[in-house]
C-alpha cells in the first residue's frame, strides 16, 4: 500500500495537458477576472483566476477528477477514500459522483455539520473518527484493504498535481487572450499541489514568468524550505484563520517540483488576507475564503509587486462560513 514518494516519477506538462483533456466539459473553465479600478489603484495589471467558481467552490475538483480517471477501471469501480473535512472532501465526492463510483470521506467527529451535510449531498458516505483517540490513516488503510477502494491524497500525488496544473494552462491561455504577458504568478500554497501543477504548466506555456508560493505567516514552510533547499516543518504553536492551507510541511512529491520551478515564497498576515477578501468583495464581487486569498494578499500588500507590471494570482476557493465573512467585512 505504501508508495515511496521520494522516487515516484514526477508529472510533466504532458500529464497536465492530458488532465486538461479529461477535465474538458467536466470542470468549469473559470474566468480570469480583472478590475479597472483595482488596476488603477495598483498602477499595474492584476489578473485573478477565480477558482471559487469551480465545482464545489474550490480547485480541488480538478485534481480529484484527474486522479480518479487514472485508477485502472476494475479498481475504480471499488470506489475511493479520502481524509478531509474541507475542500478536498467535496472535490473527491463530486469527482467520484461524476464517475458514478462510491466515495467514502473520513472526517473528524467534530467536523462542522454543514461540511458533513454538503459532502453527503454530493453522494459520499462519511465515516467519523475521534481525532484524539483514533488514527484516520489506520481507518483509511483498513477500509482500502477491506473494500479494494483507492486512497485519494490531497496533494502529494502526481495525478492530483497534474489535475491542479490545468489552472496554469488556463491562466497562460487567458492572459494571452487578454493581451497580457505575465511578469509573475502567485499561487496559494498548503501542501503545494496547486502551485506545483501551476508551475509545471507555466514553465512550458509562459517560461519567463516566475511563480511564487503564497502562505500564511507561521505556515510558510514552503518558502523556508525553498530557501533552505530541503523540506522543513513549521514551528508548532502558530495560528492562522487560513484553515484550508495550514499544513505542517511541504509534500515530498510537491517539493521536488517546487524546489526546481518556484522563484520563491511569500508569507502574508491574517490582516493582509482579510484585506484581500474585502477587496475581492468590493472590486471583483466574488467570495474568497481565507486560505484562498493568500496569493491575492501577496499582490495587494506589495510583497509581490504589481506596480508597472502584470501579475496573475490564483484565488483558490470560496468556502467560508458566513460568520467569518461578516467579521472580515465588518472589520474593514
Amino acid at each position: 500500500m505504501t508508495t515511496d514518494l521520494a522516487t515516484l516519477p514526477l508529472p510533466t506538462v504532458k500529464d497536465v495537458e492530458a488532465a486538461a483533456v479529461r477535465l474538458k466539459g467536466k470542470a468549469v473553465l473559470t474566468p480570469l477576472l480583472e478590475s479597472q479600478l483595482l488596476n488603477a489603484r495598483l498602477g499595474g495589471r492584476l489578473l485573478v483566476k477565480a477558482e471559487m467558481l469551480q465545482r464545489t467552490g474550490s480547485f480541488k475538483f480538478r485534481g480529484a477528477f484527474n486522479r480518479i480517471s487514472l485508477i485502472p477501471e476494475a479498481d475504480r469501480a471499488r470506489g475511493v477514500v479520502a481524509f478531509s473535512s474541507g475542500n478536498h472532501a467535496q472535490g473527491v465526492a463530486a469527482a467520484a459522483k461524476a464517475f458514478a463510483i462510491a466515495a467514502t470521506i473520513i472526517m473528524p467527529s467534530d467536523a462542522p455539520a454543514v461540511k458533513v451535510r454538503n459532502t453527503r449531498a454530493l453522494g459520499a458516505a462519511v465515516i467519523f473518527y475521534d481525532r484524539w483517540t483514533e488514527s484516520r490513516e489506520a481507518i483509511g488503510a483498513r477500509l482500502c484493504e477491506e473494500t479494494g477502494a483507492t486512497l485519494v491524497r490531497p496533494y502529494d500525488d502526481p495525478g492530483i498535481i497534474a489535475g491542479q496544473g490545468t489552472i496554469g494552462l488556463e491562466i497562460a491561455a487567458q492572459a494571452e487572450a487578454a493581451g497580457a504577458r505575465l511578469d509573475a504568478c502567485v499561487v496559494c500554497c498548503g501542501g503545494g499541489g496547486l502551485v506545483a501543477g501551476t508551475a509545471l504548466a507555466l514553465a512550458d506555456r509562459s517560461p519567463g514568468t516566475p511563480v511564487f508560493a503564497a502562505e500564511p505567516v507561521g505556515f510558510d514552510d514552503t518558502a523556508r524550505s525553498l530557501a533552505a533547499g530541503e523540506r522543513v516543518a513549521n514551528a508548532p504553536g502558530a495560528t492562522s484563520f487560513c484553515d484550508a492551507i495550514v499544513t505542517p510541511m511541504p509534500g515530498a512529491v510537491t517539493f521536488r517540483i517546487n524546489a526546481r520551478l518556484l522563484a520563491g515564497g511569500v508569507a502574508v498576515t491574517d490582516a493582509e488576507v482579510a484585506d484581500a477578501m474585502r477587496t475581492a468583495f468590493d472590486a471583483l464581487r466574488v467570495v474568497v475564503e481565507p486560505g484562498g486569498a493568500v496569493a491575492l494578499a501577496a499582490a495587494l500588500s506589495g510583497k509581490v509587486p504589481v506596480e508597472g507590471r502584470t501579475v496573475a494570482v490564483v484565488c483558490s476557493g470560496g468556502n467560508v462560513d458566513p460568520e467569518v465573512f461578516v467579521k472580515v467585512l465588518a472589520d474593514g
Copy 2:
C-alpha cells in the same frame, strides 16, 4: 432634442447580434454558473448568469458601450452625459473611457462618496445637483446643448436594449453548451431594458422559452402593466432595499417590447431577495446586490418553479455596500 419614444423603431435580434460583435473582447463573457448542491435542493437545474463579474460589476457596460458606438463619430468626439449615481454611471464612464471620449455624470449632491470616487476613477467628470431644488434633466439638456454631448439614457433606448440583449445570446449559447434546454428565463427588471433585450435574443435563439420579469414587491410596475396591457405606475410610498431597480413605471420603448415578448412578471419580497443573496454567497460564491438578486429570488422562492425543469436567471450586478451585505448575511 426630444425623441418620440412611442414611435421609435424597435430593436430586433439583428441589432442585438450587431451589439455582440461590437462588444466582443470589450465586455466580459460572464459565466453561466451552476451548483450541484443547489440543483439537488431545488430538484431541477438552475443556471445563473453572473453579470456581477461584468466590467464595473453590472450588466450596464454592455448597453452603454453599444449605445456610444452608435453615435456618429463626429458627435461622439463631443462626449456623453448620463444621470445616475449607480451602476449606469459606472457603465457609461467605463464605456466612454474605452472610446477615449469624455463622460459627464450628473449625480445628486448626496450621492455616496464611494460611488463618486469610483465614477471619477473611471475617468468621468461628475456634476452635482441638488435633488430638492434643481432638475437634473434641465442640467443635462443645457450641457448637451452647450457641448454637443449625447445623452445616454439608462434603459429607454434601442441601442441600450440591444446591448443588454447580448446577455440573452450568451445565455442561449452557454445553456446549449451545458446540454440544457431552458424551460424558463427570469430577468431582473427596473426600467425593463435588460429583460427586453434578453427577451429579443431568446425569442430568436430559444423560441419556446418563456421570459419573466422579476421585480420587488411594491415596484412590480412591469408585472402589472403586462397584466393591464398598458403602462401603469407604482403606487407612491412603497419601499425596497433593491435600490438599483426601484423605477416609477416601465419605459415607453422597453414596454413595447416586453408587452409583446414577456410571459409575465413576478414580485419578490426583500426577505426573499436577502435569502437569494445568502444562497449566492453560499452555493455560488458570488456577491449579488439586492436589485441584482430578484430573479434568483423568484426561482429560489418557487414563484418561477425550478422543480423538474431547467431555469436560467440573470444576476445583474454585485455593487453592494459591505454594511448592507453584512446585515443580509447576519440575518440568515
